[in-house]
Each structure stands twice: as C-alpha cells, then as structure tokens.
Amino acid sequence: MIASFLIQTLNGLASASLLFLVALGLTLIFGVTRVVNFAHGSFFMLGAYMAVSFHELVGGGLLGFWGGAVIAALAVGVVGALIEITILRRIYRAPELLQLITTFGVVLVLKDVVLYTWGPEDILGPRAPGLAGAMWIFGKPIPQYDLLLLVLGPLVGLVVWLLLTRTDWGTRVRAATEDRDMAAALGINQALMFTGVFALGALLAGLAGALALPREPANHNMDLTIIADVFVVTVVGGLGSLPGAYVAAVIISVVKAWCIGIGDVRLFGTVFSFSKLTLVAEFIVMAIVLIIRPWGLFGTPQAAQRVAAASILPMPVPDMKRWWPLGLLMLALVALPLIVDRFTVVLVTDIIIFALFAASLGLIMGIGGMASFGHAAYFGAGAYAAAVAFKAGASFVVAIPTGVAFAAALAVLFGWFCVRLSGVSLAMLTLAFAQITWAIAFQWDSVTGGSNGLVGIWPPELLSSKSAYYFATLLLAGAAILLIWRSVHAPLGFLLRAGRDSRIRAEAVGIDVRIVQWRAIILAGSAAGLAGALYVFSKGSLSPDLLSIPRSVDALAMVLIGGVQTLVGPVVGAVVFITLQDWIVRATPYWHAVLGITLILITIIFPQGIVGTLRQWRQRRESAP
C-alpha cells in the first residue's frame, strides 16, 4: 500500500514538472504584461507537434529526442515573439477580459494551424533514448523517464530563477513586473522587454510540450486540457509567484495521481471509482485553498482594483418614448415564421436562445464587473438536468423548470467561491469550474451518457413543429431577457453597479457586495440554465460539448462583440456571432481559424464592443462643441 502510494507520488511529481513549466511561462508573461495568455496551452501543443516533426526529420537517437525538444522549444519561442509583435502589442491597454478573448482567438487559429499541418490523427511521439525502461522501487516499476522529468522541472525552474535574479535583464523584468510605467520612465524599452518575456514564456510551454511526448501522443486536445489545469495551478499557487507555481503544480498532480492509485473503493456498499474523480479532487483542493487564502498559496492579496473612469460608460436610463424600435422588433419576430423558410426559423430560434445565454453573462460581467470564463457550466447544467429529467419520465413542462432549478443550484455553489475573487483570478476559477462540470458529464456514463450524450429529447406534440417551438422559445427566452434588463434598473442592478465601480465605497455605505454579486450570479445562472434547457429540446440531443471551454468563450465573445456595458450589446453580439458562425462553418472546414481571426480583429478594432463603440462615437459627437 505504502509502496503504491510512493509510486503514485513519483508519478505525480513527474506530471507536476510539465505543469509547472507551462504555469511558469504563463505567470512570467502575466507578471510583466498583465495579460493572461489563453494561448499558452496552444504553445504546449505546438511544442509537442514540432518535436514529433523534428524527430521524423532527423531520425531517432539522442539528437532526435533532445535536439527535437530544444528546437521545438526555440521554435515555439519564435512563434510566441511573432504573435506578441503582431497581435498582443495592440491590446496591452485594452480591458483584461478583452485580452483573454483576443488570446482565445489565437487558440482557435493555432488549433487549425495544427490541424492543417499535422492532420487530425493523434501522433505517437519518440521515446527518450536510453530511458525507455523502468526502475524498480519497492518492487514496483517506475519509468526512468518519469524520474528524469521529476528532476528536470525544478532544474529549469532554477535556471529561470537565476536568470531573473542574477542578470541585468532579469532585474529589469522584475522591476517592470512591479511598475512598468516607472521602468519606462527609467529608459527601459517596454515593447522589447514584453516581446522577450513573451518569447521566454512560450519557449517554456513549448519545451514542456516536447517533453510530454513520451507520456502522451501529440493530439488536438492538449491545448485546452493543459490550460485548464494551468489555470487551476496559478489560482492555487498565486498568480505571479514562481514558487507558488511549483508547489501548486505538485499538490494538484500528486492528488490526482493518488486518486488514480486508489482506484475503486467500496464504501457503504457502493463502489466509488476514485480514478474517475481526478477532476473533482482538483476542485476540492482548489476550493480549500480559496477558502483559506483567496489570493492563492504564495500570492499577495489583490489591491482593490481601480477601474479607470474612462473604461466605464454611463448606463443611460431607458427612455420610454423610444419604445417603438423594441415594439417593431417584437412584431417582426412574431411575424417571422410566416415569412421565412424552416431553416431560418431554426437559425433564429438558436439566436434567441443564445441571446438569452449572452444576456445572462452580460449581467454579471458588464453590470457586475465579474468575468466568467465558464458560463457554459450553467447552460450545460440546465440542458443536462432537463434532459435527464425528461429521460426519467418528466414532461416538457416539468423538465424545463428542473433545468433552471439545477442551474440555479449550481450557481449557488460556484457563486459562493466566485464572489471571493475578482479580475483574472476569477476568470480562471470560473473556467476551472466549467471544466469540472464538463468532466462530470463526460465521465458519469450511467446518468449523462458519457461522451455520447443523450438523444431523443423532443418537445411535446403541441410544440413539435419548428415554428411552434420557435414561439415557445421567443416567449420564454424573451421574457427572461426582459427580466434581466429590468433588473439592471432595479435595486439589484444599482447595487451591482455600485460594487463594480468602487467596491470600497459601496461597502462603506453598507452594501454587502459579495451577497449582491452572489444574487446576480444565481439570477444569471438560472437564465443560462433556461437557455440550455430550451436548447436541448430544440436539438433533441446533447453531448458534453455543451459544457466545453469553447462554448463558454462563445458566450463571452457574444457579450464582448456586442459591448459589455450595454443592455442591448450581448443580444446584438449573439445575433452577429451566431449568424457569422453559421455562415463560416458552412463555408470552410477551417472555421476555427476564421472565427479566431474574426475575434482577434473585432477585439482590436472595437475595444468597447459594437454597441459600446457606437455609443462612444455618438457621445463624442454630442460633447464636441
């Protein structure tokens, strides 16, 4: 028993080394540029594929493996530098959420670059020459390569630490991490340093990817799988802390390894499969750390965020004399099925569902100032709960509220943690939550149908035609959107905005900001759950994809494209996004890349979103003499 624990611990430490290298790069980049690089997992993936190609080019042997790792790392560093120069440089002054969306655009582009270059199949990578065997410890075999990795991670960490503390460049990097404007006022060229740091961070991720090859084949899911883990590691360790990154990587990896080691355990007559609970274990570790130290083990408490006055657009009070555009729109929506074909009716049904999804995210993000990178958790939870209830014999009329209630319950749970964080840490936490929800749906075969999902979930006879379901959606989702809009100009909205604009002042006048934010998350979660429940009955089936990271980012993209601090923005964003997506997906197999480039361009050109930018232009014109 003890021997098996020791073996799993060693195995965990080997995984921790890889995780640490990626997290270290992410933290370095964040420290200096204040950008959380979503594409960091993509650099990891790119490193793996490049090492495979190098190995194929020069053949096996020491040069093939170790040369491949070095070349891949350097190549990824160069790719990182190019991306920094062409894209990131344009967004350093943009709001941090927008930066996340831009770098997610890079994720999508790199995904298709890999698909185009290396094809869709998993590629088995080379084994490390001379280290393919195993060492026997306590009568159990442990791969020699794991032992090497175990040492290599901390070793590279040490090199980076020496670089930061013992060289002029490192000293300047640490200075810029603390106060980049003061560093510039002392003559330090920020642009050059940012490129250098970004390249170094990318290089570390690429190196980790190449070193991961003997343990897993190069595949297309490496990017998002590792980035979710890395986000958990940085939240647990504390953003910006080098030792924190290592300790957190070790804790997470070892706990996961132990879960696998424990395997099936019989407790109170039921069999618990611990090996399937790895992600839940990760969640519990993170939860405990966040309760005790919300800023992470080695992090420092976040200073109350100063929101730049210019970044907040005043929310105009709705002018009831201008009701007629909304009235006209309603009329048009009601008349729609009479005019257009069946296909368009389905598309518009989708748009309405996603408009609700986006509007619910807009409430907590725009009005509440809380970034969520895992809003799909509620959407998917609503969809799954409704589908499971339906499969268990509940009718449509019962299944829909079940979905909403389940999503609300999940929001109660997640929200409790979320209100303890803010900014990018919060964004990473929500992403991790969504990833855990995904894992549960993916692994709990008996209830959720696992990777196959569930099929045959159709609305009752009365709503079976596409137009009838369209009207039902319009009624329910439309009412929910109006409720969200109304809440913005109700006490909940006022308190939320007060907490967003100045937490300290809001608390000083007696507002419990956390409770207000929690309520908003529950309202938004319920609304997203309704959207999910409506979605599953319109499609007739569902799969864990509903909960995946790209789905969360879709919602985020809709909100940001439309304009985060506006009411109509998210809805406009949903219309633009779904229409574009529908069109792009049909036009090209490389739709990820097209979508990614679109996201990058939109975030660079319209930093306030479409509606927000238009409103800013109008205000400028009105205020001009």
Binding site: T171, E178, A184, A185, L186, I188, A308
Partner: protein, 236 residues
C-alpha cells in the same frame, strides 16, 4: 536655445482637461520651481514631460527635439530623469538592484557616468543599506533612492515632483544639498513644491501654477515681493 521648452501645452485625463496652454522654459544648470496648491496640475505637467499617462497636445521641446508623441523610454534616454511624487521604488528589489534598473548607456559626447558610489556620496545613508529591499526602507531612504536611481541614467535634466514632501527636516537638508550639487554640475532642474522655504533654498526661478494655468513666471525674489499674488494663488 533653452534646454527645456514647454509651449501651449494642454493635457487631459480621459475627458477632464488638467492643463490649459502651459508655457515655460528652463535653461541648463538652472533650477526652476513649480509652485501651486494640490490639484493645480504640477504632477500632470511632470508626467507630460516624461511621457506618462496623460493625453497631451502642444509643444514640449528638449534640447531642440520635440518630445510629444515620443515613447517614455526614449524621452528618458535623451537625458530626462524623473523622480515621481510617490517615489515608485521597486519594493521587491534591493537598493543596488533599484540603481541597476536605472542605469543607461552614456550618450554621444559624454564621458562621465554616474556610479552607485558617486550617488552614495550624495546620499551617504544609502551606502549602509545596499542589500535592503525597497519595501523595507523608510520614506526618507526611499526618497534618496529614487533620486539616486534617476541619476544612474546620467540625466541632463531632472524632474523632481515634491521631493521634500512628508520628510524629516534632517533628510530635507540632505536632499536640498544634493540638489545644489546637481545644479552645480550643470544639470537642469524642474521641481514642484508647495513649501516655499524649500523652494527658496534650491531654486532661482519660479512658476506659479493654478488650476492648470501658469499665473506667474519670474525670479523667486519677484514672487516674494508680490504679496497679492501669493495671497491669491498660494495661501490656503
């Protein structure tokens, strides 16, 4: 040609205008003081010159080259040192490391470079705490370090934003002495002050700034002679 020339400078934070048509000049080896109440725009003017934060329009010329639109690090490399009001010492770095960050290569035609040792001659207390981190230093030590750090870039011109604010009289004396020595070495100086006594000790020329506009330009003696002006713009 003046070393520093500011002409018709307007500046904004977002949509709020802070400076309105500010003009002033400072010669090499001269020390000028900006006097004004809190919120008059003194710090904003300094930030405009070094190229931080504020949006600016107008002319800022240093040794004949226009600084408007130039990136901050280029402005610093041309020979302007910046000592901000809140000091902005790198808290996680030691005294030595803070100085190392400030180091810049010599410009063409210059031969004498500032070294940490030379800076410690100006500010002797720093020599004893070279390995101490910025976060563990007293306010006076931080103020000395922030001036020393600016000197490492071999500035021909120094912006000092309220260098005497909140310091013990002993430290104020050290700093006044250092400023006098720098002036003697031919460094141009623009400092902002609310404290007229300190201003008299170190500067020869004065500009009175009030709500973003220059209200007076002349010698300190002339300013002292004008009681009405002092009453209107400087008394609290």
């Amino acid at each position: 040609m003046s070393l520093l020339e500011v002409r018709d400078l307007d500046a904004w934070y977002g949509r709020a205008q802070i400076l309105f048509g500010v003009s002033l000049t400072v010669e090499a080896g001269d020390a000028a003081v900006l006097i004004g109440r809190n919120g008059a725009g003194k710090s904003t003017l300094m930030k405009c010159i070094i190229g931080l934060e504020a949006e600016r329009r107008g002319v800022i010329r240093f040794d004949g080259t226009d600084l408007i639109g130039a990136p901050t690090h280029n402005i610093a490399r041309r020979g302007i040192g910046y000592v901000p009001e809140d000091r902005r010492i790198f808290m996680d770095l030691t005294v030595d490391e803070n100085l190392r960050v400030g180091r810049l290569p010599l410009r063409e035609g210059e031969s004498v470079s500032w070294t940490p040792e030379a800076a410690f001659e100006l500010f002797p207390p720093l020599a004893a705490i070279r390995e101490r981190k910025g976060g563990q230093m007293s306010g006076g030590e931080q103020q000395m370090l922030t001036i020393a750090r600016a000197l490492m870039g071999n500035p021909r011109f120094l912006l000092l934003d309220e260098p005497s604010e909140g310091l013990a009289p002993v430290i104020v004396e050290v700093i006044a002495g250092a400023i006098a020595k720098l002036k003697a070495r031919g460094v141009g100086l623009l400092l902002s002050e609310q404290n007229l006594h300190f201003a008299r000790a170190v500067a020869d020329r004065a500009f009175v700034l009030d709500r973003g506009r220059i209200r007076f330009a002349g010698t300190l003696a002339e300013l002292d002679a004008d009681a009405a002006l002092k009453e209107q713009y400087l008394s609290i």
